[in-house]
């Protein structure tokens, strides 16, 4: 705890609070309501302020910093348009439960409600997309509010917390006293799971004939990967993962069936449908994962669900054995029970089940027809994996390229796959890569994007130049809003309404205009060499424009309203 009897301004207090929280980076953009805060930033050098080119990017970058490190991301924006520009970023983080603290400036307290210049009801606008938010009305409340904000953001089911601070409050003065601890009588997230339930779950899993683990983003966010690996290995049961959970269990392990869901693998979706005991860990049975709920429930199975958020349990699917708790702690308890009780398993049934799964795997649903003429997008991702030795941080935007990155990169480690799963926000890719590169300056960071998505935050090429971020942009340029086009092909008889990308810029020149390296790759035989060349430029930002097969589709695919076992495979067409 830091204490001083000297009176300092609210702005200085805020900065001191951020120091107390060991904040390394603040991603932001200045404006009238936060001028006092920016002046206080000028006088400090404990954290680095990153000046983005659009507030949305500040939020995404702070979000990715958090996703890749597990620490709380911090963003700072001004009132009015600064705050509204931040909303997409806040909602994106909220949907994926990312811990962040967002500081927004507000018009002075005496002007609130008068439609003052750059006034908006930021607390009101953001309420539905934050874990919690605060309006600070007294300089004396800044320190305690920031303390609460960090605590609420990072504990329980994490999420973004916004603190709106009127300008006059940042000029007022008081003594700085940062609380050492925080307690909110209304907020007590559960951590330990109920032991009785855990025992019951383990019994079900060991007695199961066709057990299956379905792991989600909660495993990554809860840093429970090592515990999950231990559990799966000691029980020897198959595991699938959601888009958000990728890397939580190594993709290269034989027990891993790949991602499940709308574009999940044949083996993962079939096993999910036909298992008799399902252990869901930090996942939420969302519509992109289980497809048609009725169809999913038409197959009887017993479901165990571990989640930190009680409201995730039995929200879409009735759960038989709910375990509310921190996934890491619950999995640790399970592992301990296994170690002490060495429960017998239904080995013959399990062997038959694994054999069935191998038969499904035999479909090789991710095989694609190679071409000597066109660059196949899947091939680019496979080569990206090879060239980066599977060890890059990969961010993506939203669309077909995102699914291909998820399907073909084969993530072996958690916090390496950074994308917007819940909100599906186009435009996150580049700012996500920035957030990751700031956190890991020496790591290989690849941003897999589409020519549609990249243009939603293309201005950040300037930020990347300013901070010399050696990001590699892997743009799969199909000249289409590909995912939209794919749906139009399947469900609207090829009526490609407004899904064609016309008047694309010369991306190579564009990159060069910002002082970056630009490359265009048009031939399959050049893919690998170009990637090697780009990643060899360790200190340079390289923008790679891969001209890919225009009409390639993402398979497998579960159409809207269909069930998990009703996939369309590439071979069916």
């Amino acid at each position: 705890m830091e204490q001083s009897t000297k009176k300092i301004t609210g702005a200085e207090i805020l900065i001191r609070c951020l120091h107390e929280e060991n904040v390394e980076f603040v991603f932001g953009y200045p404006g009238g309501a936060v001028l006092h805060i920016y002046d206080a930033i000028f006088h400090q050098d404990k954290f680095k302020h990153i000046l983005v080119r659009h507030e949305q990017a500040a939020l995404h970058a702070a979000d990715a910093y958090s996703r890749s490190t597990g620490k709380v991301g911090v963003a700072l924006v001004t009132s009015g348009p600064g705050a509204t520009n931040a909303v997409t970023g806040i909602a994106t983080a909220y949907m994926d439960s990312i811990p962040m603290v967002i500081i927004s400036g507000q018009v002075p307290t005496y002007a609130i409600g008068e439609d003052a210049f750059q006034e908006c009801d930021t607390v009101g606008i953001t309420r539905p997309c934050v874990k919690h938010n605060f309006l600070v009305k007294d300089v004396k409340d800044i320190a305690s509010t920031i303390k609460k904000a960090f605590y609420v953001a990072a504990s329980g089911r994490p999420g973004p917390v916004l603190v709106d601070i009127p300008k006059d409050i940042t000029a007022d003065t008081c003594e700085f006293d940062y609380p050492a601890t925080v307690h909110l009588r209304s907020y007590n997230p559960v951590t330990k799971g109920h032991l009785g339930q855990i025992k019951k779950a383990l019994k079900l899993l060991t007695e199961a004939k066709r057990p299956m683990v379905y792991s989600g983003g909660g495993v990554v966010l809860g840093d429970a990967s090592a515990h999950l690996i231990k559990l799966v290995q000691s029980l020897g049961i198959p595991i699938t993962s959601t888009l958000m959970g990728l890397g939580g269990f190594p993709a290269s392990d034989a027990k891993f069936l790949g991602m499940l869901g709308m574009h999940g693998t044949y083996e993962a979706n079939m096993a999910m449908q036909e298992c008799d005991v399902l252990l869901a860990v930090g996942a939420r049975f969302d519509d992109r994962v289980i497809g048609n709920t009725k169809h999913f429930l038409s197959h009887p199975r017993t479901i165990i669900h571990i989640d930190i958020d009680p409201s995730s349990i039995s929200k879409r699917v009735k759960i038989d054995v709910p375990i509310v708790g921190d996934v890491k702690s619950v999995l640790a308890d399970m592992n301990e029970l296994i170690a002490t009780e060495k429960p017998a398993q239904n080995n013959s049934a399990l062997a038959a089940w694994l054999q069935q799964i191998e038969a499904w795997r035999g479909k090789k649903c991710l095989n694609f027809a190679q071409s000597s003429e066109f660059i196949k997008p899947q091939y680019v991702i496979q080569k990206l994996h090879e060239v980066t030795k599977g060890d890059a941080f990969v961010t993506s935007d939203v669309g077909q390229h995102q699914m291909w990155a998820a399907q073909y990169y084969n993530f072996d480690k958690p916090r390496r796959w950074i994308n917007s799963g819940g909100l599906g926000t186009m435009g996150v890719g580049l700012p996500y890569a920035m957030g990751v590169q700031f956190a890991y300056p020496d790591a290989q960071v690849a941003c897999v994007t589409g020519e549609g998505s990249i243009q939603m935050n293309i201005q950040e090429l300037s930020t990347c130049a300013q901070y010399h971020l050696p990001i590699k942009v892997i743009m799969l340029n199909n000249r289409y809003l590909g995912m939209v086009r794919q749906w139009q092909e399947f469900f609207y008889e090829n009526r490609y309404s407004e899904s064609y990308m016309d008047s694309l810029p010369n991306f190579v020149k564009l990159a060069e205009a910002y002082g970056h390296v630009g490359m265009q790759i048009t031939k399959p035989e050049d893919v690998e060499g170009a990637l090697k060349e780009a990643f060899a430029m360790k200190s340079r930002f390289v923008f790679m424009d891969f001209i890919t097969d225009q009409k390639e589709n993402v398979f497998p695919m579960i159409q809207n309203g269909k069930g998990l076992s009703e996939m369309i495979l590439a071979e069916d067409l």
Partner: protein, 168 residues
């Protein structure tokens, strides 16, 4: 599990802070939950507000409502009164025509429902009536529609019976 909608009365205690009410109201509208009525006021402890929400939904929906309410950072405690025995009361003020021909009739109806006439004017009475929502409905039903000039209802307040206590 029943899938048909039933009426539930949910009581909750929350931090008495500006914006607290909009968090609850926003939750109901954002998730498409139904609100029949919502009442809120500070408790004997001025830092806490108590809210009574009358809603309806299937068991699964009510379970989600309770969980989602608990998830709000400002909410201290939530109780589904329908989980046990409880008392429900609502206050209604009704202004009715009480011209000479109606006056006695109105007085009689009011007595039957144990209401009180709290304001008397030349052509009207204002009746205060307390009871469950059903009782208030029944009173309205029993009046000649043409006689009703104005009604105002508080929405239900509820409290558990006996030692079912919602307190921190």
């Amino acid at each position: 599990m029943t899938t048909h909608a039933t009426r539930h009365i949910i009581s909750l205690l929350m931090e008495n802070e500006s914006g607290a009410l909009s968090r609850v109201a926003g939750l109901f509208s954002a998730r498409g939950y139904n609100i029949e009525s919502l009442t809120v006021a500070a408790t004997e402890d001025p830092t806490l507000s108590r809210m009574t929400i009358v809603t309806s939904g299937s068991e699964a929906v009510i379970e989600q409502i309770i969980k989602q309410l608990n998830k709000l950072v400002d909410v201290v405690k939530v109780l589904d009164l329908n989980d046990g025995k409880f008392i429900e009361r609502e206050l209604m003020l009704v202004k009715v025509k009480a011209t000479s021909a109606f006056r006695d009739e109105m007085k009689r109806m009011c007595d039957i429902f144990r209401g009180r006439i709290i304001d008397v004017a030349d052509g009207s009475f204002t009746i205060e009536l307390t009871g469950s929502g059903n009782k208030l409905d029944a009173f309205i039903e029993s009046l000649d529609k043409a006689a009703i000039l104005e009604t105002v209802r508080t929405g239900a307040s509820g409290i558990g019976r006996g030692d079912r206590i919602l307190k921190i």
